[in-house]
């Protein structure tokens, strides 16, 4: 088990490290790093990556913190609906959001700008557009829209664990609610805020689709697009490896920082779920509170989904709808476009196999490491969590280097993408399974063993039913994560092993928005159907 995990996780990193310090003749060299440091075409994307990711982190915290507080602490109406909609933003692939926002926020033809020009009697090109999505800030905006749910969940969970008695105490002492929120609640959730910021930072740093769609047309590069461009022919693998390692280093550092923040024991108040939480009455404040949710969800869900639907059913996306309606794009995608069938099949094969293999692996790893059953159980746990620190595109560079050479030439097959998905999703799966396993005390198994059951029998009869929901949820997470994957696939696919996400990316390069919209809707429909099925089967209500 240790060896399997080590091969999965460490082999790509080994080749990555080695390639970054080797020249063509396989001699040791630091030339690639020197090139990286000397060449402004590397430094600039690096700086852009850092500041835009920081901006996304700050934006996410600013938006998600009040949202989480309102949901956890006030009598806000429609909470369930709101949670479902935030979940919907969470499962929307960011590159789909970027596609939609091109159609909404293109400076001249984008629908929002068209409305704006029409409303104020302005002319495109003469007036400044209301939004220009093809910019670094446009990229930050779209990234934040699909990253804030992480931060929201972080903070909401943390608030659930903090008893509201302290806030009430402050209220009894005469402080108004806003003061209690600022002076009592805020310091208590500060670690969660910081951790949320770091998660958002990491998420946006590793995205490929959004910058490729929104920043490249404005001539702006980030690290992921830069690494991708190094893979264009002839591929500059040494440089790509050298450019990947700083990303890896930053991720490791930030995750350590996050662990340190979350692991601080100073807040002993957080522990065990408190009794009833007294909900604050919003009164007239309900209006601005709901407005906040309305605006955010409008931008992340309603407008993008709306524009994708509209685009899928009209001939010319930027023209008025009247007389423009057509099923042409659907006919094209499902009856003419050669890649639909192949890409859909590949996506499903990969999604199902990666989810199944990933779940089995995560469950085995979780059980062995938590119950300390084998030698090296610590190493197992560590290796299973380590890929969280490997950005998708960096993992892809490593896998490419590992599996384009003997003994295992996997490039050109679905296997290499399968490995990428399993490795990438392993930490999520492991954490899911571990969480459910931790809830099952070993005493239960021990009891069964005292009555003479073998360990396997105890596992099957006692533990399995108890962690079933957790395991199914793991499968769901990995499946959804795989179906939407772009940043690793973009370096690993070949014509035969194309996925839906890559097919959409190819269509983007020739501005075929109609077919893109059709495929986007298809992808979203698949995602939501899977989620509904899983929730029905496991009888889980949306968080």
């Amino acid at each position: 088990m240790v060896l399997l995990l080590a091969a999965l996780v460490l082999l790509p990193l080994y080749w990555l490290g080695l390639t970054s310090v080797s020249d063509d003749a396989k001699n040791l060299t630091l030339a690639h790093y020197r090139h990286f440091l000397d060449d402004p075409s590397f430094i600039k994307p690096f700086v852009t990556t850092l500041w835009t990711s920081a901006a996304v982190g700050i934006a996410c915290v600013l938006v998600a913190a009040p949202m989480a507080w309102l949901v956890a602490r006030t009598d806000l109406p429609l909470k369930r609906t709101i949670r479902v909609l935030i979940l919907a933003s969470f499962v929307t692939p960011p590159f789909l959001g970027a596609f939609a926002w091109v159609l909404l926020g293109g400076p001249n033809a984008g629908l929002i700008n068209q409305w704006y020009y029409a409303l104020f009697g302005l002319k495109p090109f003469e007036a400044q557009p209301l939004v220009n999505i093809f910019s670094a800030w446009g990229m930050v905006f779209v990234m934040a829209l699909y990253t804030f749910p992480y931060v929201f969940t972080f903070i909401a969970n943390s608030l659930d664990l903090i008893p509201s008695e302290l806030e009430e105490a402050s209220a009894i002492l005469g402080a108004p609610p806003w003061r209690a929120a600022l002076t009592v609640t805020l310091p208590l959730v500060l670690p969660a805020l910081l951790a949320g910021f770091l998660v958002a930072f990491l998420q946006s740093m590793t995205l490929f689709g959004v910058p490729a769609i929104l920043a490249l047309p404005a001539g702006i590069d980030v690290m992921t697009t830069k690494i991708w461009s190094l893979f264009q022919f002839p591929p500059q693998l040494g440089l790509a490896a050298a450019a990947s390692l700083p990303l890896l280093a930053i991720t490791v550092l930030l995750l350590r920082a996050q662990a340190a923040i979350m692991g601080r024991r100073g807040y002993s108040i957080i522990g065990g779920k408190a009794g009833g939480v007294r909900l604050l009455r919003l009164g007239p404040w309900v209006v601005p509170a709901m407005a906040l949710f309305a605006i955010v969800l409008l931008c992340s869900i309603f407008l993008p989904y709306g524009v994708l639907l509209r685009t899928a059913f009209v001939k010319n996306w930027s023209a008025p709808m009247a007389g423009n309606l057509s099923l042409e794009h659907w006919r094209f995608v499902f009856f003419e476009f050669s890649q639909t069938k192949l890409a859909l099949a590949n996506t499903f094969i990969l999604g199902i196999t990666a989810a199944t293999a990933g779940t089995i692996l995560a469950t085995a790893v979780g059980y062995l490491s938590l119950r300390k059953l084998v030698w090296g159980h610590r190493a197992i746990g560590f290796l299973a969590t380590a890929p969280v620190a490997i950005p998708g595109i960096v993992l892809a560079v490593g896998l490419f280097l590992s599996y384009t050479r003997p003994p295992l030439v996997l490039y050109g097959t679905l296997w290499i993408i399968f490995l990428a998905y399993v490795t990438k999703e392993l930490p999520v799966g492991y954490q899911q399974v571990a969480a459910s396993l931790k809830a099952v005390h070993p005493e239960l198994e021990d009891a069964s063993r005292i009555f003479g059951a073998t360990r396997l029998r105890a596992l099957w009869d006692i533990t399995t039913p108890l962690i079933r929901n957790g395991v199914i949820a793991t499968w769901l997470f990995i499946f959804i994560g795989s179906v939407r994957e772009l940043s690793a696939t973009i370096l690993l696919f070949t014509a035969r092993t194309k996925t839906i996400s890559v097919a959409m990316f190819d269509l983007r390069e020739s501005n075929d928005w109609g077919p893109i919209a059709v495929l986007s809707i298809t992808m979203l429909a698949i995602t939501f159907v899977v989620i509904t099925i899983i929730y029905t089967f496991t009888d889980r209500k949306p968080a």
Binding site: G110, N316, S338, T494, L507
Partner: protein, 339 residues
Amino acid sequence: MSHPWKLIALAGLIALPAIAQETTPAMVAAAEKEGKVVWYASVDVKVAEAVKKAFQEQYPKIEVEVERTGSERVLQRINQEYGSNIHNVDAVNSSDASHFLFWKQQKWLAAHTPPDVQKFDAQYKDPDGFYATWRASLSCMAYNTNLVKESEAPKGYKDLLDPKWKGKLTKAHPGYSGTALTGTYALVKVLGWDYLEQLAKQNVQQLQSTTATPKSIASGERAVMVDGNEYNMFIEIAAKSPVKIIYAVEGTPFIASPLAIFAQAPHPNAARVFANFLYTPKIQQLLVDIGGQRSAHPGVKEPADRTPLSKIKLLPDDPAGMMPQVADIKKRYTAIFGN
């Protein structure tokens, strides 16, 4: 030939049954047994799928797998695949004619002259029979007629440096598009890199494909197209989009877009049936009529509303001259305009 084993190897090569050039019933039968042909192409995806549909109407038992992407991406994918010993592609079309020189040098291509190609002028085919111009187009300028009055439209490339065009231009990328690369090479010869450096200051929308820029001005996202496929313009005009072509006073780059078959094609017979079919007057006429292409086939008629090539000042392509400079052009361009 001092070593006897070399002779044996040579004899082995000669003994291989040569595959016929003409589509024979035996070839069709073999192709149907192979069941499909894998075609990497840089032509607009809808045109590619229309060609596929026409082929399958005639040969319903042979599936066509179209892999459409930009020419430079086609090159990258094939070279990456061949570098990893993956032989997936049967037939290839790219708008960067220098690719075919490269693949020919690498000895990756199969010599195959479709019957119709024998009627082509010599300039449209490889003397050794490895490839021939399947389609041709121009990399033209154009504008949106709702956003720009005809009297104010630019006449040529130099007009685009006028400050009034700032933020209104859209352009394709030579790192992705063979048409843009061939066009950039031709343009730099006439105007120099200075011109592109000044153009970059105009806040140009940098797209990837020359099939994308016509769609950008058709949607009104930008007003003037610096380079884009003439054939996409014809398609837009046929769809009544508010756009008009400009043939620049400095000249318009001519883009030959050849087709070839790979020697290690996994479906060699299907590839040949497919290639032969692609040069027939029927498909060549289809390319011209619905694909907006120019054809090298003498039997093809151009629609009356298109300006004939003889009336346009052309900048001829020069794949052999461009080939050694390709990497440099891409690098310089990216340094000026970004990726």
